[in-house]
């Protein structure tokens, strides 16, 4: 593998296809698999010092050493597999060898913390779509059983009707069977579905109930197909996460800047059991979500709001906002004014366009998608925000008032200072698109700042 890689790199360099004049590359990322275990290794030069970090937290572990050996042009052990951007390898090779040669004590590896943070300085092209190795996936799903249970659940609710379903023994049994047959630990997609379904039953929300049940029916259909369509495969992964027989496509994101604009706890199988954090990528404006069950690890650290410089992250396919896993990052709790200005620029200004994308999203991923947006109201000051959240064309996007305290607080805030952006989750109630506010961008004497609503 490595020989092939090296040969290919040399061939391409020799062909002159890659102009490298005036370019300085300080960092390379490698996907190293040893005995079936894959880790991402980053090798960088920081102020002339070689820094090596690995996602297994061992800067001198076998994966990191394999990457270093590769850069030094040494041979690798038989079972080692390395995937790297060919250009990165070729360009880093000489630089790294020089750095090692200059140090009389040999290669010096800076230990990284448990979070494996590195400071990114110059971009490498993204490594592209990557398939997780088998060892990282959960166990396979009893697809037929899960489809059966989902259809039983839908049938039970439709038989009983919304008015009689809540608390009925047959429905409770269906929920138990669903939790029993789903992969363990319970995927967050399923947990959230159960939480939303219970919520729709408790509040007699027939529209939401229809959407959720439609989602369950579609998932059951996808699970029953031996070869689901591309959309079907995405839906399965969105609900269940990657499984042994249904891998997940991952997009590697490198050297990006994100701002966390909000976080909230949403209901899963239990109340407030799923934490979500919403991150805006400042380049494209795409919003991502980090997600975890309550108080379990597996999520980045930091306050909200915060600015993150991400060396390496993985974005999963699926419904918007896409799920992201931050692997290497630095963070700052101070957000510069130009960053806030960029957020204001990125905010959506047409509520009709929002509706368009919302309808598409719930059509593709019913029962699963919960779109999150940053909107820039044209008028949101001097009067209650609930009456004033309108776009440039005068179309309103009402604020949810299910939590009267939050709505009153927002109204008061809007009376005091201009609100230039509202970040929140979109929902629909009685044919009306509504915004659940999570944070607001306000203008005060010192400039723009982000204030959390929840």
């Amino acid at each position: 593998m490595v020989k092939d890689l090296r040969r290919e790199v040399r061939r391409r360099l020799a062909s002159g296809a890659m102009g490298v004049e005036g370019v300085r590359i300080d960092r390379a990322v490698f996907d190293v698999t040893i005995d079936g275990r894959a880790e991402l290794v980053t090798v960088a030069l920081r102020n002339g010092e070689l820094v090596c970090t690995s996602t297994d937290g061992q800067p001198d572990g076998p994966h990191a050493m394999a990457a270093l050996r590769l850069l030094a042009g040494q041979s690798l052990a038989g079972t080692t597999k390395v995937i790297a951007s060919p250009g990165a390898y070729a360009l880093m090779g000489d630089v790294a060898e020089d750095a090692i040669a200059r140090d009389p004590e040999g290669p010096r590896v800076t230990p990284a913390g448990p979070l494996a943070r590195v400071r990114p300085e110059l971009s490498l092209p993204p490594a592209g779509m990557r398939t997780l190795s088998t060892s990282e996936r959960p166990s396979s799903v009893a697809r037929e059983s899960l489809a059966e249970v989902l259809e039983d659940l839908v049938t039970a609710i439709v038989r009983l009707g919304l008015r009689n379903a809540q608390g009925s023994p047959s429905l409770e049994e269906a929920f138990e069977r669903l939790a029993g047959v789903a992969p363990q630990p319970l995927p967050l997609g399923i947990a959230r579905f159960i939480g939303r379904l219970r919520g729709a039953l408790a509040t007699n929300d027939v529209d939401q109930l229809a959407e959720l049940l439609d989602g369950a029916v579609r998932l059951a259909g996808d699970l029953r197909r031996a070869h689901p369509s591309e959309e079907g495969r995405r839906r399965i992964v969105g609900w269940l996460g990657p499984t042994a027989d249904q891998p997940e496509d991952i997009e590697s994101l490198t050297d990006r800047t994100f701002v966390e604009v909000g976080r909230e706890w949403v209901t899963g199988v239990e109340r407030a059991s799923i934490e979500r954090r919403y991150l805006v990528e400042l380049g494209s404006g795409e919003i991502f979500r980090e997600e975890r069950p309550r108080l379990l690890p597996g999520i980045s650290v930091g306050p909200c709001p915060r600015q993150l410089h991400v060396g390496l992250a993985e974005a999963a396919e699926g419904p918007p906002p896409r799920r992201i896993r931050l692997l290497q990052y630095t963070l700052s709790d101070t957000i510069r004014p130009e960053t806030f200005a960029r957020l204001e620029e990125l905010s959506v200004r047409s509520h009709r366009a929002l509706l368009d994308s919302y309808v598409h999203a719930i059509g593709d991923y019913p029962g699963l998608v919960e779109p999150f947006v940053l909107v820039g109201p044209a008028r949101a000051t001097g009067e209650a925000i609930a009456l004033a959240n309108v776009d440039d064309e005068g179309w309103p996007l009402p604020i949810v008032r299910a939590d009267e305290g939050e709505a009153e607080w927002l109204d008061r805030l809007a009376m005091e200072r201009p609100i230039v952006g509202i970040a929140g989750r979109l929902i629909d109630v009685t044919r009306t698109l509504l915004l659940v506010p999570v944070s607001v961008l306000v203008q005060d004497e010192e400039g723009l700042r982000l204030v959390r609503v929840r």
Binding site: G113, L115, E151, V154, T155, V158, R159, L160, G161, L162, R163, N164, N204, V206, A210, E211, L213, D214, V217, W265, E270, R294, L295, V301, G302, P303, C304, P305, R306, L331, S332, D333, H351, L355, D356, V359, H360, G363, A386, L387, G394, W395, P396, L397, I399, V400, R401, A402, E404, G405, E406, R412, V429, T430, R431, T432, L433, R449, V451, R454
Partner: protein
């Protein structure tokens, strides 16, 4: 609909000017079928035909098609609607349960109800002073600020009223009013403002130092968490004025509370929550609500205590929901107390029942709750707790009676005051009496002045009255002076030797003991300072209690020594030290110190050091 599957929408529907909620016939039918259920639907076979299915199609197939049709119809019906400016659902499901009280005090600064009177419009200085002593927390805060506003523009005020009001503001010792007192003193000008400015400068310096450490903590992995690193009194000093902290530090505190720092464990989060009890900062509401929604009762209770004291509309719905779902007695009592701060007294009947609980912690929580939800009818229930063997319960009973404000308990309080030898308890009763009299004044009742017994003089004080021989006085004074000279040039061992000689010659003379205690305290020799303070308190307790400087140094010495003991794992010794200093009348010590001592006493009581 018949015989076809719904087509997925490919673009947004056109703007629709129908009122939100208005359905087409197709959508209405589908919604109705989902609401009542197939088993209740009289025209079930017809529904099957409408859905394009045979009349005897299986329920499972009908359900599958029905939900797809309904969801598809819903998507097609989604609109942006110029008339849809509000959430079509009704507002809050329930409203706060308010006390039916039309008295002046109940209406002053009330958040709900047409009869509310804004404290900002009250001009009468005597009324404001009475509210400051006897009102609820939010009333006391508003009264203090309004009083300082009135004094800043004293036109039309009589000079004796101005003087009395200034004295009142200066003497505010309530730890809950630290932030407002600092603002008020800055407005007053003169020496008040100078003290306040110096205090403010110290706070700003600390805030900047912590801010820099917070930035370093997030930007550089592996640094210790800066808030946990602060000595207890400094942490309290910083956090009691959290409302002026920069956004970055508040976001940091929120991250710690939410467990987003990757370091703090449950015990540390609980300690931080305790320190934020009086922060009153609305920026912390989202994080505190996150903790309140959690599943750890101890954290939920601390979060409720902190939330109740924040004036923010998001607080009531969160506390109300938490109270309704809670089943743990102690937790529910604490939530009832927090709801009481918002004016909602729904928890009153529940906590009254808990006063008879066999669990002392539940009884204490119930007493605490009656402080905010109790009424005059509760004073008889609370009075017996004045004789409780547990000092924490006795103190809480006095605080509860103070807030209930029933004048009938004054003779009983006088009686307790007469028989107690603990000066801290006496001080608590003094404050309670002042609060009750203030409430009676606001209610137009006559305040009965009860003749106080002669001041209790402790035995050690009596010893001082015995005159020492002139030669002993001369020699000890000489030792004292020489000791001061040694101290001035930094030779502390020789200075202490002289002070010890002076103290040995005149055992009833407190000055050499005080100067030794102060000298050791300023050198951070807490163990030695502690011993000297103990001897000074033994000789003349009131000298320590009445001096703001000595009171502060003594409290700080005991606290720092307790922290040292705690770090060494000697929790019993630490607890003993904190309890010992809390028996002193510390009203003249800084609020941050008193707050931290009380917080630490509670933490040590449950074996949970910081």
């Amino acid at each position: 609909m018949k015989g076809r599957l719904p087509a997925e929408p490919s673009s947004s529907p056109p703007p629709d000017d129908r009122p939100p909620g208005e359905d087409t016939e197709e959508r209405a039918q589908l919604r109705e079928a989902l609401k009542v259920g197939m088993s209740a639907l009289e025209n079930g076979p017809l529904l099957r035909v409408e859905l394009g299915l045979p009349p005897h199609a299986e329920d499972r197939e009908v359900a599958r098609i029905l939900v797809r049709e309904a969801a598809s119809a819903l998507r097609r019906g989604l609109v942006t609607n110029r008339r849809a400016t509000r959430d079509p659902r009704t507002g809050r499901a329930s409203a706060p349960l308010l006390e039916q009280d039309m008295s002046l005090l109940a209406r002053l600064g009330a958040r709900h109800g047409a009869e509310a009177i804004a404290l900002e419009r009250v001009d009468d200085v005597r009324t404001l002073m009475a509210v400051l002593r006897g009102g609820s927390l939010h009333q006391r805060r508003a009264a203090l600020l309004r009083l300082s506003e009135r004094l800043a523009e004293p036109r039309g005020l009589r000079s004796e009223h101005v003087k009395a009001a200034e004295e009142t503001i200066h003497n505010v010792r309530d730890v809950e009013l630290v932030y407002e007192r600092a603002l008020a003193r800055l407005r007053l000008g003169g020496s008040f403002a100078r003290y306040a400015k110096t205090d403010r400068e110290e706070w700003e310096e600390l805030s900047q130092t912590v801010g820099a450490k917070v930035r370093a903590f997030w930007e550089d992995d592996g640094r210790p968490e800066p808030i946990a690193e602060l000595p207890g009194d400094q942490r309290a000093f910083l956090l009691m004025r959290a409302r002026d902290l920069p956004d970055e530090i508040v976001a940091h505190l929120a991250a710690l509370l939410e467990g987003s720092d990757g370091q703090a464990d449950r015990r540390q989060r609980r300690a931080l929550l305790g320190s934020l009890k009086y922060a009153g900062d609305a920026r912390l509401v989202p994080a505190l609500r996150t903790v309140l929604d959690g599943y750890e009762p101890e954290l939920v209770m601390e979060a409720a205590r902190a939330l109740g004291r924040i004036d923010d509309p998001r607080v009531w719905p969160a506390l109300s929901a938490a109270f309704e779902r809670s089943v743990i007695e102690r937790q529910r009592a604490v939530l009832a107390a927090a709801l009481g701060f918002t004016g909602d007294v729904r928890g009153a009947p529940y906590v009254r029942k808990l006063l008879g609980s066999s669990d002392p912690r539940v009884r204490l929580a119930a007493l605490e709750a009656l402080e905010t939800v109790g009424a005059a009818e509760d004073s008889e229930r609370v009075t017996p707790f004045l004789d409780d063997p547990d000092p924490a319960v006795r103190h809480q009973a006095v605080r509860t009676l103070a807030r209930i404000g029933d004048g009938h308990v004054l003779p009983r309080l006088e009686d307790v005051r007469e028989h107690t030898t603990v000066s801290a308890f006496r001080a608590e009763i003094d404050d309670a009496e002042a609060a009750i009299r203030a409430r009676m004044e606001l209610g137009g009742e006559e305040t009965v002045r009860i003749a106080r017994p002669a001041r209790i003089v402790n035995a050690s004080r009596e010893r001082l009255q015995i005159k020492d021989p002139a030669i002993a006085r001369f020699r000890s004074f000489k030792d004292y002076l020489v000791g001061q000279l040694w101290l001035a040039i930094g030779v502390i061992d020789r200075a202490v030797s002289r002070f010890e000689s002076a103290a040995a010659r005149r055992p009833g003379w407190v000055a050499p003991l005080v100067i030794m205690a102060v000298a050791w305290a300023r050198r951070n020799e807490h163990a030695k300072s502690l011993a000297a303070f103990r001897r000074a308190i033994e000789v003349d307790r009131s000298r320590i209690e009445r001096s703001p400087t000595l009171s502060r140094l003594a409290a700080r010495t005991f606290l720092r020594r307790a922290e040292e003991m705690e770090r060494e794992g000697r929790l019993d010794v630490a607890r003993g030290l904190v309890e010992e200093v809390l028996a002193l009348d510390l009203r003249r010590a800084p609020s941050a110190l008193r707050f931290e001592l009380a917080r630490r006493n509670e933490a040590l009581g449950r074996q949970g050091p910081w």
